[in-house]
Symmetry: C2
Subunit: 368 residues, 2 copies
Amino acid sequence: MKFKISQKEFYEGIQIVQRAVSNKNTLPILSGILIKVEDTRLKLVATDLEIGIECYINAEIISKGELVLPASHLSNVIRELPSMTVMVQCDLQNKSAEILCGHSQFTINGFSADDFPILPKIEDGTHLSINQPLFKEIVEQVKIATSTDETQPFLNGALLRIVDNQLKMGSTNSYRLAHREAIIETGIDEKLEVIIPNKTLDEMARLLNDDQEATVNLQFTNNQILFDLENITIISRLIEGRFPNYEPVIPKNSNTFIKLNRKELLQAVKRVSLIAAANSNIIRTTVTNGQMILESANSEIGQAHEELDIDMEGSGVEISFNAGYLLDGLKILDTDDVQLCFSGKFSPFILRPTNEINYTYVVSPLRS
Amino acid sequence: MKFKISQKEFYEGIQIVQRAVSNKNTLPILSGILIKVEDTRLKLVATDLEIGIECYINAEIISKGELVLPASHLSNVIRELPSMTVMVQCDLQNKSAEILCGHSQFTINGFSADDFPILPKIEDGTHLSINQPLFKEIVEQVKIATSTDETQPFLNGALLRIVDNQLKMGSTNSYRLAHREAIIETGIDEKLEVIIPNKTLDEMARLLNDDQEATVNLQFTNNQILFDLENITIISRLIEGRFPNYEPVIPKNSNTFIKLNRKELLQAVKRVSLIAAANSNIIRTTVTNGQMILESANSEIGQAHEELDIDMEGSGVEISFNAGYLLDGLKILDTDDVQLCFSGKFSPFILRPTNEINYTYVVSPLRS
């Protein structure tokens, strides 16, 4: 097993798969990356048994074979090498790899490829193709509201549904929720409903690209999902359990509609939360004609008071909520203006970008 | 007490003094910054009783007075305000400050200025003026070798000496040492010898600037040192005790002299230390005619071997040392080439920039 590869491409490939490497010290081999030298290219694989990432890179193949090398040592060494051609020559008997580059020579001890878990294959299952930048936006907008509370594992991810040629994706931690819809050509007859784990959402957001021409192919079974990007495959288990029917929580009949500059609101909420941090991050908002007031007070630290100019329709309202939840929603959007829709002091309120009716972010009020 | 000030200048001033704020929770008032409004300008002061930093900023003064505000809240609020004029109005009775900027309004609770410690004044003592960029370079080159071992408090800083119109500064942690000399016009007759604490060296390196025209004025007594930069004053206690006479440790008669590219050596040492990290960072160097070899091996992880082209005079040598110590010295220099002078397997070796005979960095060998 022997190949030549550019330092830059090798390091990029390692970075793509490395995030799937196990952090836990259960099976030592899971701390490694499988390097499989095929006819004309190199395949890198890493998995923690929950998620697996495979990546193909072009290389000059001298002889075939496969070996597992510890991810952190491999990654550190390749990162620090000069930007030149790297030659890797493996001694499969001794399970070690010799890495030559310029005047540098490393030997890294590894594991036999025979002991590396084989990633599950999805032979049948449902297929779906989506534009990559669109799916990246959907994943980013939805993953912000997921729960990390391990006592409710079915909330530790996002629900993806296909209903009548519509893709619907949503998440909630019980205090806030994110919901996104997109009309796509699915060609899927049956109703489809899966929960994608948080870690997989993070990797998707990282690996999906912004190229308008790029497509991602999804393949589902009952307990696995596969994402096929060009040269990269991600396979992940799905979360079992029943996701709550969150759509009725989204208020249908609001009676206060305001429009304001997103960045100004973001900065004002950030400032008020400097004081609110000492009060579990609770801030109070008062919406009156043409003005939104944000406030927080702590008897030890002091007080914050912010005034914002708004466009307003409907009645005034006063409501308290967790500043961090609103901040997350404001940060993920990129529009100049946003809309907030209130339905009274004790009802959840909606945050929406002004140009996009297909995204809804909902924050529950706090009784303060 | 009331003044107007630009958000940017106020935040810069806070950042200058904030590093002197106490991290320990001893006296609550030491977590604050004293804001003293004088006739035409503002004075900010912070101290942890070991080091004190004062800074003057221009402001539009409306009325005089002084108050102490908690450094972290003040700094967070001013940082997040828009880049506009900030108005600060203090209620000295209630020991609170109202901060107004754009549509933002904050009240921050503070402490009475009467309880804030007065920084010691140095009336007499020895004076000395040095070019700021030169002194910055000296401090940066010397502070890398200081010790943080609390059992040897006299090594937790750098020795500054004035001997015959020469400034000499040095530091050591017993395993490596840094020594810098500079010829300056001191006008000082007596011999002067003080130990400046680590934290003060860090603040000096941060606050001294690169303006070739700038001067720093130093003032010494037996137990205090004062640095006077334009608009900024740093006053620090000195470390008591006798600094070891380290100069005899610097080898006088080396028998191997090599010259090589600094960045190439830095990168090679960095790579070898990826393997050496598992061996207390020990690497082995073999210098033969025209070549320097760096090596490390660990039975579990693997091996590293680097070859470097060198200009060489004298005999070959083989020596083992802590890679981190050499890295620190290589990082602080900015020359293209460096010189290494060896005096045998068991003697300390010297690192020097090729253009500067006044800086000497010495690393002790390890018997491996």
